[in-house]
Amino acid sequence: MNFAVLVFPGSNCDIDMLKAVEDTVGQPVDYVRHTADDLSKYDAILVPGGFSYGDYLRCGAIARFAPVMNEVRKAAAEGKFILGVCNGFQILTEAGLLPGALIRNKSLKFRCHPVDLRVENANTAFTLDYEEGEVVTIPIAHGEGNYYCSEETLAQLKANNQIVFRYAGENPNGSVDNIAGICNEAGNVVGMMPHPERAVSELLGSTGGARMFTSVLNAFKKRAESGATTGARAY
C-alpha cells in the first residue's frame, strides 16, 4: 500500500506523519509537494498539520488552490483514503471535501495538550481497528480548531454517521457538538483536529493514534480482497 504525505509551504507535521506511517505499518510512503500533478500511484493521501501559506486569509484557504489539490479531489472521488489532520482538516474543509469550517478557539488560546477522544464511528477506513465508544488519548495543538457548521449540516452529519470523533472530556475549543473529527458521506475522507501521528508510541505519551494507520491498511486489504477498486464504504 502506497502512502503520500502532502507538503505545502508551511506544513510542519509532515515528518511526524511520514515517520508514523513507517513505524506503525511499515508501508512505502513519500513526501509529495504541493506542486505535484499526479497522485495515481498512491492509495492513501495524508494531509498533515502546520501553517500552510502562513495561514494567510484563513487557515487552509490558499492551500486548497495548490495544484496537488485537484489530484486530491480526484482521489477522493475515486474512493481513495484521505486523512487531514489539524491544518490538513482545515484544508479539506476549505476545499469542500468535508463540510463545515474551523474557526478561532472560543478561548482564543492556542491549546497544546493530550485530549480524550471518543470514537463515534468505527466504520471509516481510518477507524476500523477501534471499538465504537472507545476513548483514546491523542494530543491537540491548534488555535483554530473550533468546528462550526450550520444546524442543517449538523443534522446531516448525525443522520449519516459522519461524526468520527468527539472530545470525551472538556471541549477545548468550542466545537459544535464537541466534534473533533468528521468524515464525508462515503467515509473515505476523514478530517480531525487532534494529531494521531503524535500518538504512535508510549515514548510519545500515547499509542492512541497508531490504530488509525493500521485501520487504513486493513481497509485497503479488505478492499483488495473484495475486488472493489472504488466506491462508498467498500472496504
Binding site: 486569509l57 484563513r58 490558499i62 463540510p99 469550517a101 474557526i103 478561532r104 472560543k106 482564543l108 450550520s150
Partner: protein
C-alpha cells in the same frame, strides 16, 4: 478601478476575537460598548475599466477565495 471588499463573520457564528475586544473595551471603561464583531477589509486594484465585468469577477473572487461562505458574508464597492 479599485474594489473595496468587506468580509464579516455571519451573525450566527461565534466571533471570539470580537468578544475579547469587547471585554477589553469594557475593562478600559468604555461601558457604552455593546457587541463587537471583527471582519476583514481588503483593497484590490483592478486592471480594467469594464464595471460590469469587474462586478462579476470580484464576486467570483469573494466566492472562491476571499470569503468562506460557510462562516462569512461579504460585500464590495467599486470605485474609479
Amino acid at each position: 478601478m479599485k474594489a473595496t471588499v468587506y468580509v464579516t463573520i455571519k451573525a450566527n457564528v461565534l466571533d471570539p476575537q470580537g468578544n475579547a475586544v469587547q471585554n477589553a473595551l469594557h475593562t478600559m471603561g468604555f461601558h457604552e460598548v455593546g457587541k463587537v464583531r471583527i471582519g476583514k477589509y481588503m483593497e484590490i486594484q483592478l486592471d480594467t475599466a469594464d464595471r460590469a465585468q469587474a462586478e462579476e469577477r470580484v464576486k467570483a473572487m469573494c466566492e472562491k477565495l476571499l470569503a468562506n461562505t460557510v462562516i462569512e458574508d461579504y460585500r464590495f464597492e467599486l470605485e474609479g
